[in-house]
Amino acid sequence: MSKIRIATTSLAGCFGCHMSFLDMDERLVGLLEYVEFDRSPLTDIKHCQPCDIGLVEGGLCNAENVHVLREFRQQCKILIAVGACAINGGVPAMRNHYTVQECLEEAYLNGVGVDNPMIPSDPELPLLLSKVHPLHEVVRVDYYLPGCPPSGDAFFTILSDLLAGKEPSLPKAMLHYD
């Protein structure tokens, strides 16, 4: 039987969800009997092949985030929004309190300690969206795994359910938004 393919990525996030993913610890070893990783910071594969499950950490703050999210949506049968940022923007969405112009001016022109003030225009740099958005505003999301970050137990629970072909559900004790 072929293994379940999982891809993971972090968009406008802090990789904390990925760290928490690794908190599954020794259970990861057992998991690897059934799954293999496609695109992921863990594999350094740059683009997704068709996958069964996509885990997306972080919200959308720039154009590149949108491209990556679309690739995940296109390639993954099941897309899971992982963590507070993917679900409602999280910490990066605090910048929505300001206009993107105010943010860039503070960071590159007027902020304390800015040398050679200029807003960078290198095409290598992804352009910022006017606001930070959760994933579900741009693509259909199949499941949500809240938490900042979700615990290793929560990751294990949702993946175990999916591997068993069950509708995933999270025990109340594992449900938290912080």
Binding site: A63, H67, V100, S130
Partner: protein, 584 residues
């Protein structure tokens, strides 16, 4: 501001906050921050109450409007948003932004009740009707030359009654005082018995039995009782109260006095929507004439102890104040937020005292019943809907205007009377009412079938019904008071879904989500506004599903915002326009 408004009939312990704010808005073109604390002190109100009222009512502004503040109705019948754009072009202004020289500001406003003679605008609160594109250059010139409104062509401001078919009430020529004379001769008990015999039901749309309301109020023991006439006729497409207040005002006030006679009230209020401010001078003149004729004031018609007088309180652009308990809050100089019920106004109304709140038309009917008796009234209409109904007919018909018919007339008959036979759909009772298609034109206008406060909006086959429903949905989101969660959050969300679908970006999923949310808003909201806000979009879904289907994208999902537009600012700031600087 007519002086009479601020002086009033002397029944308010002090000037009404809304009037003082109207006054400041007129003088300074906004409410100057430095005026707020002194006003609060003078009126003995918390400064937060004054602040909250300023931000609640649409006609008060925090920053100066133009010397000419021009508000175009955005109603589907009397609206003229195309004209608004044209005038903006002629005058070099953006909607909602006062021109740099301070001369003019242009914006939109909810229906101004001129649906039979649009396009309609308010210029510094004065109503201008039958505006056409041809007039715009002249209007622009009058603005640019700072010509006072009194020197503008008088016929621009000539609001017509447009009574197309008069019936039981409008045909009946009563003399001033006929109702009161009959009442004092028969006595209050007998008058109440006649109202009950007549089976008169409230004309605002809900149809509560009037005699029962008066009886409850009369039976409530309290130091004071009040009569309030609800003239906050804000339902888009409704304008019959405008005509009654213009040409039958004497009967409206007499109806209030009859109610006062029954419930033993000494004070009454006419709560008039701000859009009808132009009616104030004639209404005050009518009140004065009635005082002179001893139809108001002390010992009315020489009945010892029958003391009653009426003050006019002018609203300031808030549809929700048509809801009776919100209206009472507004009368009490607060934000117009509907109260928790029970208790009901008949026991706990204005200032916590027993209060009857009646529709304008109900009070007029009461006068006729006082004169002719309950049997006479009961002989017209249907089993559950006695008497006649004054309909406000507008939209795609040859003769928009006022039509009075006995209850029970079919929609089809009314359409034939007004030249609206080509309708594909009719909105009965305004946006909060019911949308019907041709298959339902045989239905009867009566409480037992299609209940209505009187708004009949006709839409021909040329109309885009989705645009109509979108207009209504925007209206409700704009007018939601913000008290309860379902309406405060739900109406802007419904607006978002509908905008998405109307712009061709909606999917089947969006339509289903909109319907699910719509049902929640309808079922769980605090008051009638929220409970009806989703009616247009749900009715359209039930009766004209193809109107949605034609707009939907055949794909799984579509973003809620324009991704490429979300990069506009950063493209400009970085001077980039390469492929990576765009999202499709």
């Amino acid at each position: 501001m007519p002086k009479s408004l601020s002086s009033g009939a002397g029944q308010q312990p002090h000037d009404h906050l809304l009037h003082r704010l109207h006054d400041l808005q007129s003088r300074f073109l906004h409410i100057p921050p430095l005026e707020i604390a002194p006003l609060a002190t003078e009126l003995d109100l918390p400064v937060s109450q004054v602040e909250s009222v300023i931000d609640f009512y649409s006609f008060f502004h925090r920053s100066p409007r133009g010397r000419f503040d021009i508000l175009f109705s955005n109603c589907t019948s009397c609206g003229g948003l195309t004209l608004m754009q044209q005038l903006c072009g002629l005058l070099g202004v953006q909607p909602g932004v006062t021109r740099a020289d301070g001369m003019v500001s242009i914006d939109q406003t909810s229906c101004v009740g001129m649906c039979d003679q649009g396009a309609a605008v308010l210029v510094n609160g004065r109503t201008l009707v039958r505006l056409t594109a041809a007039q715009l250059p002249h209007l622009a010139q009058l603005v640019n030359t700072a010509t006072p409104l009194d020197e503008w062509p008088a016929d621009w401001f000539a609001v017509q009654d447009n009574i197309r078919h008069a019936g039981l009430l409008l045909n009946d020529t009563l003399s001033a005082g006929d109702g009161l004379r009959a009442a004092v001769q028969a006595g209050a008990d007998q008058l109440l018995a006649e109202i009950r015999q007549a089976s008169l039901r409230g004309r605002g749309g809900a149809g509560f039995p009037t005699a029962m309301k008066w009886q409850f109020c009369r039976d409530a023991t309290a130091p004071e009782h009040y009569v309030v006439c609800n003239a906050d006729e804000g339902e888009p497409g409704t304008f019959k109260d405008r005509v009654l207040l213009h040409s039958y005002a004497q009967q409206v006030f007499e109806g209030m006095a009859l109610c006062a006679y029954v419930i033993k009230a000494q004070h009454g209020f006419l709560y008039l929507r701000g859009e009808y401010r132009y009616l104030v001078p004639s209404l005050e003149a009518t009140l004065d004439a009635m005082r002179t004729a001893n139809l108001l004031g002390e010992n009315i018609l020489n009945q010892p102890g029958f003391n009653f007088d009426i003050s006019i309180v002018l609203g300031a652009g808030a549809y929700i104040c048509g809801e009776e308990s919100a209206l009472l809050e507004s009368l009490e100089q607060k934000r117009g937020v509907p109260r928790v019920r029970p208790p009901f106004p008949v026991t706990h109304g204005y200032l916590g005292q027993p209060t009857v709140v009646d529709n304008v038309e109900t009070l007029v009917a009461a006068v006729h019943i006082a004169v002719h008796g309950g049997e006479w009234f009961r002989a017209h209409g249907t089993a559950q809907s006695a008497g006649s109904k004054v309909f406000s007919v507008s939209g795609d018909c040859t003769a928009p205007g006022i039509y009075e018919y006995p209850f029970g007339i079919s929609v089809q008959d009314l359409l034939e009377a007004c030249g609206g036979q080509d309708a594909q759909a009719v909105q009965i009772g305004g946006p909060s009412g019911t949308l019907i298609g041709r298959a339902e034109f045989g239905r009867k206008l009566a409480f037992e079938d299609l209940a209505t406060g009187g708004s009949i909006m006709i839409y021909s086959a040329q109309r885009d019904l989705l645009a109509v429903v979108r207009n209504f949905t925007h209206f409700f989101a704009h007018e939601s008071c913000g008290f309860c969660t379902p309406c405060r959050v739900g109406t802007p969300l419904l607006r978002k879904y509908l905008d998405k679908i109307a712009s061709g970006h909606g999917t089947v999923y969006d339509r289903e989500e909109m319907a699910r949310l719509g049902k929640l808003v309808k079922r769980r909201s605090h008051c009638g506004l929220g409970q009806t806000a989703a009616n247009p979009l749900l009715d359209l879904l039930a009766k004209f599903p193809q109107v949605y289907a034609e707009r939907l994208l055949h794909q799984d999902y579509e973003p809620f915002f324009n991704l490429d537009a979300a990069l506009t600012t950063t493209r400009e700031l970085t001077h980039r326009d390469d492929a990576e600087a765009h999202l499709s």
